[in-house]
Structures are given as structure tokens and as C-alpha cells.
Amino acid sequence: MSVAAPTKIAPQARVITTKPRVSDQIFRGIVTAFSFSALVILSLIAIFLLSKGYSTLREQGLGFITHFEWVVNVDDAGVESAHFGLQAMLLGTIVISFIALFIAVPLSVLTALFLTFYAPNVIKKILVSVIDLMAAFPSILYGLWGFFVLMPMAEYWAKLLHKWLGWIYIFDVSQPVFTRSPFIAGIVLSVMIIPIITSVSREVFSQTPLDRVQAAYALGATKWGMIRAVVLPFGAGGVVGGSMLGLGRAFGETVAVFSVLNIVFRTNFHILFTQGGNVASMIIQRWGEAGKKEIGALMAAGLVLFILTLAVNFLANAIVTRTVKSGR
């Protein structure tokens, strides 16, 4: 006689519903609405800049980004004809931003390493506060300092660079005028972005898993050997992410660059020479006297800048979230 085993019925989870009270629904509604304000604002920025810049973009087409000339002609009848090409300023933006990265990234990584692994507690606290303070300095302060304090020194360095390394293309100059150059703008920008790169690098370095650090030491590594074997591979992603955040900041810098750079609408890779520009400071420069047509073009330029910084920041944040916050 066999007894069939009772069929098992898999237990089913009860569906629990909670209808929030009216007051909570209102609360959640308000909070959610306000949170979408970010989306609204960003979209509005894109929309309005596009609407005002549309005619320019339509006229110039892709040439807006690729052409080099920016001229407005007003003839006697008051009719404006113009050609707007942003290329020179886009290249200029990239040139000074990369000079800034070139100086800021090594300095920031060194400082971050110093703070995480070498600095005694007191010095660490002071230096960290100082760097946080740096991040709060207004950009016009960097402009003033860059023009009056840094420039005389940087001019001297530029002359030295030209004297010893002038045979390299970028250090060559067509005329020996070394003030208000991309080189100087790059230095000022680098000081501005050091805080963000240092703090992101510091955060990722301090998250280095202790067990790997101990493994390296137990194998007879010196502190530097340990840093090379464990910290730097672990922190590379964070450093890249932080550098891109700095890059995004450098792209959009306006008054600081305007103060120390002679804005001329020509592509210039002779970084020691007094000629350059970036999109943001160009907008400021031309705004005062811009007629209706040019204002449209400047709006379009603003749109290009907006999209560019958005893209860089998006990429940067993706990298930072993946490497720093998740503690790879």
C-alpha cells in the first residue's frame, strides 16, 4: 500500500499594498515635482539657447564648428552679413585645458599621495582645509592673481622655455611677446582645477583595500613599492575620473581666462605667444558690442559649450561613480 506524498504547494507571497495617506501623497508629489526641476532647467537651457542660436546654426551649418573665421560686417544700410566659425576658439579651449591638465594632474596625484600616505596628521588636516578653501575662491580672484602676480613670473619662465626649448614647435613664437598667453592661462586654470582632482584622487587612494596593502608590505615592499604595486593600479580609474571633472571645469572657465589671455580669433599652438582664447571668454568679449545677428551666434556658441561640458561631465561622473563610490 503506497501513500502518495502530499503534493507540495509552493507558498505564495502575499501582496501587501499600502495606500499612502493623502498628506503623504501630496508630500511625495511636491518633492518629486521639485526634483524634476533639474530636468526642466537643463532642458530649458538647451531649448532656449537652441532657439536663439538656431538661425545662426542653420546658416552656418556644420561650418559653425569647423570654420575659423568670426566676422561681422555691417554695411551702410545697416545690414549685417556675417560668418561665424568657432573652430579657433574650440581648439583654443582644448589647448589651454590640456596645458592645465598637464600641470594639474601630476601635482594633484602627488599631493593626494602625500596626504594619504606620508603626511603627519596635523599637516594633513591643514593641507586638506587649504585645498577645500581653494575650491571656494571666486574665479575672478584667480583672474586678478593670474594677471598681477603670476604673469610676471610666468613670463620669465616662458622666456626660459623659449630660450632652451624654442626649437620645439609649441615653444616657438613668431614674435617675442610672452604676456597673456595660453601658457599662462593654462597655469591659472591648473591651479583652479587642482582642488577637485586632488580630492577625488585622495578619496580613491584612501579606499585602497588594506589587505592588498598588507600583502605588499609582507613581501618586503617599501612604501613606494607598495604604492606602485597596489595603490596606483587601484586608483587609476578614480584619478582619470577626477581629471575629467577638472577638464569639464576648465572648459567652462570665463573671467579667469579672459584676464590672462589675449583673445584673438586665430588658432594658435605656440603656447608661449600672446594669442589664444576659449569659447566662454570669447562670448564675454564679443557680447558688449554684439548686434542682433551676433547675439544669435553667441547663443549658438553657448549651446556648443553647454553640450561639450555636459558630455565631459557625464563621462567623468560615470567613471567616478564606477571606480570611487563602489570601491572596486
Binding site: 583595500p209 592588498r212 609582507a218
Partner: protein, 299 residues
């Protein structure tokens, strides 16, 4: 300690089956079994490691008091005792890892081949090459391949070796990992299982040819199968080096060690209560506290 079975023991197999057949009923039996099977060590290296009057402090807190232990060359010593009684702290004073924690201090001497490793003027990184360590949680370097991991100690110490491949094979074989990874030395270390990773860490420690190997609860994060493999490895390794192993598992201590030291803290600094041949500690401990611990009355 007899070694009448010397001729008939082959590396792993025979010992395993004999262990299974013996089915020991108590720790002391296990220890006695091991004592019988221990093969006389071949050419012991140096004069071993000796701790004399070692104390350790964390800030003002006195964590370890007056520990003196002599680890003879070619032996395996287990450090047992309840949590928090200073075993890990002590083992970290043996390879000068204790000083990495901020605000720590120590007293006493640790002699390797008769020379105090805390002497002034000594190159501490060289000491750590001679006294290796394997940690509780396997910690291979994830950014390196399996092969690179094993040789990483050489790179860090900038040691030159004539034949990398030979050394790779030798270390991985001694760690009991060679057959499993010989075809994928270029794969990343993160893909290995926990037990394999720990054996990789052992291979890595072996590559710099240490005289002493310190193991801080090397099996506590692993499954029983891996644990047994590593215990076999330990037995093999003890023929050519001195091993000190911290363990919470008394059966493991009985299986694996020649000598055992019992640590205890009564709320104050940790102390080494008793040390002796393993089978004696488990069958005829001299101190009442040791007996209480090994018979499971506490801890």
C-alpha cells in the same frame, strides 16, 4: 617521535588514507598520530626564529606581555587561544608588521638566525623577505595575472632570478596549485576560488625563499576541502622552513603542528601560558587554564 614509515610515505596519498583509517577520537590522538608520522626534516635552515620577552602596545594599551618562544628550524608551531588574546598581534611582531599600525610600540627581541630583527640600522624590507606571511583573507593582487602574482615579491624586492618559469613552477607546485593553473598563468588572479587564491598567496610568499613562514588563520575563510589541501601543503613546507600558524581550530592545530603555544588574556595584556609538543599540550597540559581551553570548557 618515530619515523618508521619514512620509506612508505609518498607526498600526499598515504598520509591521507592513514588519517582516515585511524579515525582519532580526541585531539590528543590526532596529535599523537601526527607526531608519529612526522618525517625528519631535511637540512633545517639556520637556527630558526626566537622571540625573547616580546611586549606590544597599541597607544597606551598593553596588548601583549612578555612572550618568549623558540621556533626551531624545520618545525610547525601552532598558536592557539581564545579571540583577542594577542595571537595575531604577536605574530605580527615577528615580521615587523605590527609597526604599521599608527601609535604602536613594542619591547623585547626577535632573533632570526641569532640576530635581532629590531636592531637599529637593519633593513626591514629584507627581514620581511626572510620571514613571509600569509593572511586570513586571501589577498592576491587583482591587477596582476597568476604568474605575475607569484613573482611579484621578486619585483618588489628587485631580486634577480635566472629562470622565472622554473621558479614559477617550483613555487606553485610546493603550494599545491601547479596542476590547476599551469595552463592559465596569464589569467587574472581574481578568477580563482578562495582556496586557490590562498594557495596562490602561499606560492607568492615562497617565491622570495623565506626561512620562516607566518600564517595568520590561513584557512578560516575557506571551505573544508581547501583547508585540508592547505594543511597538506603546510606539512610539506615544514621540511624546509619554519612555520608559525595562528589558528582558532584546535583540530587543525593537532593535525598540523609539532609544537603548540597557548595564549590567554585575563582582561589584561595577552600572555603565552604554555608551550610544548602538540600531543603533550592536548593530552597532558601542565597549566589548568590550558586544560580548560583544550577540553572546551571555555573559548
Amino acid at each position: 617521535m618515530t619515523n618508521s614509515e619514512t620509506g612508505s610515505i609518498n607526498q600526499n596519498g598515504t598520509q591521507m588514507s592513514e588519517k582516515e583509517n585511524a579515525k582519532p577520537s580526541s585531539l590528543s590522538d590526532v596529535a599523537a598520530n601526527r607526531a608519529e608520522k612526522k618525517v625528519a626534516g631535511t637540512a633545517p635552515l639556520g637556527t630558526g626564529l626566537e622571540a625573547r620577552g616580546v611586549h606590544a602596545w597599541f597607544d597606551k594599551h598593553h596588548a601583549l606581555e612578555d612572550v618568549s618562544l623558540d621556533f626551531s628550524a624545520g618545525t610547525v608551531t601552532a598558536l592557539i587561544g581564545p579571540s583577542g588574546c594577542g595571537k595575531s598581534t604577536f605574530i605580527r611582531t615577528l615580521n615587523r608588521m605590527h609597526e604599521f599600525i599608527p601609535n604602536t610600540s613594542m619591547a623585547g627581541q626577535v632573533l632570526l638566525d641569532g640576530r635581532d630583527i629590531y636592531e637599529s640600522g637593519i633593513d626591514v624590507t629584507k627581514i620581511r623577505l626572510q620571514i613571509g606571511m600569509v593572511f586570513q583573507k586571501p589577498n592576491p593582487f587583482p591587477s596582476m595575472t597568476i604568474g605575475e602574482n607569484v613573482l611579484s615579491g621578486l619585483k618588489l624586492a628587485q631580486l634577480k632570478v635566472a629562470n622565472h618559469d622554473e621558479l614559477l613552477e617550483e613555487c606553485l607546485t610546493r603550494a599545491g596549485l601547479w596542476t590547476e593553473v599551469k595552463d592559465r598563468l596569464g589569467a587574472h588572479a581574481g578568477g580563482l576560488s578562495g582556496g586557490q587564491q590562498q594557495r596562490l598567496c602561499i606560492a607568492r610568499a615562497l617565491a622570495v625563499k623565506p626561512k620562516v613562514l607566518l600564517m595568520d588563520e590561513p584557512c578560516s575563510a575557506l571551505d573544508p576541502g581547501s583547508t585540508l589541501r592547505i594543511e597538506e601543503t603546510i606539512s610539506q613546507l615544514s621540511k624546509s622552513m619554519t612555520i608559525v600558524i595562528v589558528t582558532h581550530n584546535m583540530q587543525q592545530a593537532a593535525r598540523v603542528s609539532d609544537y603548540t603555544a597557548f595564549f590567554l588574556s585575563d582582561g589584561g595584556p595577552g600572555q603565552m601560558i604554555e608551550m610544548g609538543p602538540t600531543n603533550e599540550i592536548f593530552s597532558r597540559p601542565r597549566d589548568q587554564r590550558t586544560e580548560n581551553y583544550v577540553t572546551g570548557r571555555f573559548g
